[in-house]
Amino acid sequence: MILSKIFKNTLIVLAACLVLSACATKKEIATDIKGSMQGDVYTGTDTVEYLAEGVPDRVFFATNESILTTASRETLRAQAAWMRKNSSINVVLEGHADERGTREYNLALGERRANAAKDYLMTYGVSSDRITVLSYGKERPVDSGSNPLSWSKNRRSVTVKAN
């Protein structure tokens, strides 16, 4: 009974591999996840847009965290420099959470994340009255998937030009 079940499962796996032509597709996805996350913080670039050359618009967070990573701080320093250079530009920092949390807590978490980014911009010389914070909680994911990679893209604070 058990043996036949194992045998059956093996057959299914084999069949699946054949369909995917030697599992090439599967492997690609696997490396993609590995290469795009550090811990569970997204380090890829496929959702990132640019405010100006060399100025990425967003930073990413670990699950339930609002701590800025080294890469995030680098991004925010570039944003601060760009804002100092373009003193007429105001921004909205949009804070987001992934779907794996309760709605109200995630609204607060998104607000906390955006404020972490705001504080950092302020320490690099951007005046607070040029920055508005807006939390969307988990209401506006950028990736609608339900897997660790999608969630990592959604835990973000995005700097958006307000004028």
């Binding site: 339930n64 609002s66 779907e99 794996r100 949390g101 309760t102 709605r103 109200e104 807590y105 609204l107 607060a108 978490l109 607000e111 906390r112 404020n115 972490a116 504080d119 914070v133 807006l134 939390s135 969307y136 209401e139 506006r140 994911p141 950028v142 990736d143 609608s144 998937g145 339900s146 897997n147």
Partner: protein
């Protein structure tokens, strides 16, 4: 079965005159043995039938109302309405004097009969509840209303029958406010919607131009408080369902969210987020005085009052992660009450006062559960991939919540629906909605 008959027999000997609780339905046990009940269609004379057909476009309003009662009793999980095909007695004669042997024969233990008339442009209904085994009338009531209220008539009859047989108030003449959802997850369109507790009379209250979340009923009136992103400013709003008037109440420089009414309906309690911290505030709706209740660098949100208004339960991550706390309503004596494995959110105090319902996240699963107000006696009622936001029926016996399920095995696509479950953990049911749905809130009884 034998035991039940003996109990009834003893009861009759002890109190032969007082007919109180001849049949008793134990609502604390779950739906293992629902009570067989016969709902005879409300009888109607031909003249009344024609009048209602003209006004309401329903062929036989008596049968329509009875099927509302049947459906309510059946979904409660406590009753087993018997098939009408087996009924031997005609509705009009049964309402005068049931032939109990006939109803006994089809194993009905209780029987509902009644009649409906068209009188002076109004709907007049009378109904009776009978104990078949004891061959006795348990209750007889009559009332008059406008014909367009015919669905409510069915709900009121259901409530009266439920109350008479269980000893507790019913929850059928109630409404649910919720968020109707459509569109892709990345650009979800959300509208406020309201419907009867059984899913009928669905109505959209907003157009979907701005994001709306977490509507909650005022326990004392038909007012609703909710979060709207009108003009991209997330603020707490008030909505009068009868007049459609909306006004902002949480217009502070920051985000106000997670609103709920106090039990007397005079205050709104909510979170206010600014500079990365969320605290709990109240606003008196009469004089607009704002009180700060918590002051902590952590996230404090999802506040909910105890029914006597003396305590507040809320969600905080001051311990490092989301947990459930209680405090006095002035913010003093803060105590953490959730200590199980995992994260806890969305605490809601039961209208009976003894329990707090919550959402729990543990090892990638979401649970709806209840615990006592000291945090002990945790019981998880249902487990799923994703579900949250329980809201209590006004009698504290049923929870409504929402759940997202994947549309296929690969985890692609999703659908969000409202579900209800008994406090016993039995009787889980999906509530039909025209669109996807989330964030349900249960109203108080519309009538008493």
């Amino acid at each position: 079965m034998i035991k039940k008959i003996i109990t009834l027999f003893l009861f009759l000997i002890l109190i032969p005159i007082n007919s109180y609780a001849l049949i008793e339905v134990d609502i604390t046990r779950g739906n293992l043995d629902p009570l067989p009940i016969a709902v005879s269609p409300l009888s109607i004379d031909e003249k009344s039938r024609k009048s209602f057909e003209k006004v309401l476009k329903k062929k036989n309003i008596g049968e329509e109302i009875s099927s509302i009662v049947e459906n309510n009793l059946s979904t409660s999980g406590l009753f087993n309405p018997l098939s009408k095909d087996a009924f031997l007695q005609a509705p009009d004669i049964a309402n005068l004097k049931p032939r109990f042997e006939d109803w006994n024969l089809i194993k009905a233990q209780a029987l509902i009969t009644g009649k409906v008339n068209y009188v002076d442009d109004k709907l007049r209904v009378e109904f009776r509840l009978w104990d078949v085994l004891a061959a006795k009338e348990m209750m007889a009531l009559a009332f008059t209303t406008v014909p367009s209220n015919w669905r409510r008539v069915g709900h009121i009859i259901s409530d009266k029958v439920y109350e008479r047989l269980t000893g507790e108030k019913g929850y059928f003449d109630t409404r649910i406010i919720y968020v109707a959802e459509e569109g892709p997850k990345t650009q979800r369109i959300k509208k406020l919607a309201i419907m009867d507790q059984d899913g009928f009379n669905n109505k959209f209250l907003t157009l979907g131009n701005e994001l709306v979340l977490t509507p909650r009923f005022n326990p004392t009136s038909q007012m609703v408080t909710y979060l709207s992103y009108f003009k991209n400013l997330p603020r707490v709003y008030l909505l009068d369902i009868e007049t459609g008037t909306q006004e902002v109440v949480g217009d502070f420089p920051g985000m106000t969210f997670a609103p709920r009414f106090s039990p007397d309906g005079k205050k709104i309690i909510m979170s206010f987020a600014k500079d990365g911290k969320s605290d709990i505030y109240t606003m008196d709706l009469e004089n607009r005085i704002v009180d700060r209740i918590t002051n902590h660098p952590s996230i404090d949100t999802s506040p909910s009052y105890s029914p006597d208004g003396k305590y507040i339960t809320f969600n905080s991550d001051r311990s490092g992660y989301q947990q459930i706390y209680i405090m006095k309503s002035d913010g003093s004596d803060v105590k953490r009450i959730s200590f199980g494995n995992g994260l806890y959110g969305t605490p809601v105090w039961s209208p009976r006062g003894d329990l707090i319902a919550f959402t729990k996240l543990h090892k990638g699963k979401f649970y709806i559960g209840v615990m006592r107000t000291d945090g002990k006696g945790e019981r998880l009622l249902t487990e799923n991939y994703y579900q949250e936001a329980p809201s209590w029926s006004p009698n504290g016996r049923v929870l409504i919540f929402y759940r997202e399920t994947k549309t296929n095995d690969k985890g692609e696509g999703f659908t969000a629906k409202l579900w209800s479950i008994d406090l016993t953990g039995y009787n889980e049911r999906q509530i039909k909605t025209p669109n996807d749905a989330s964030d349900p809130s249960w109203s108080s009884l519309l009538s008493n």
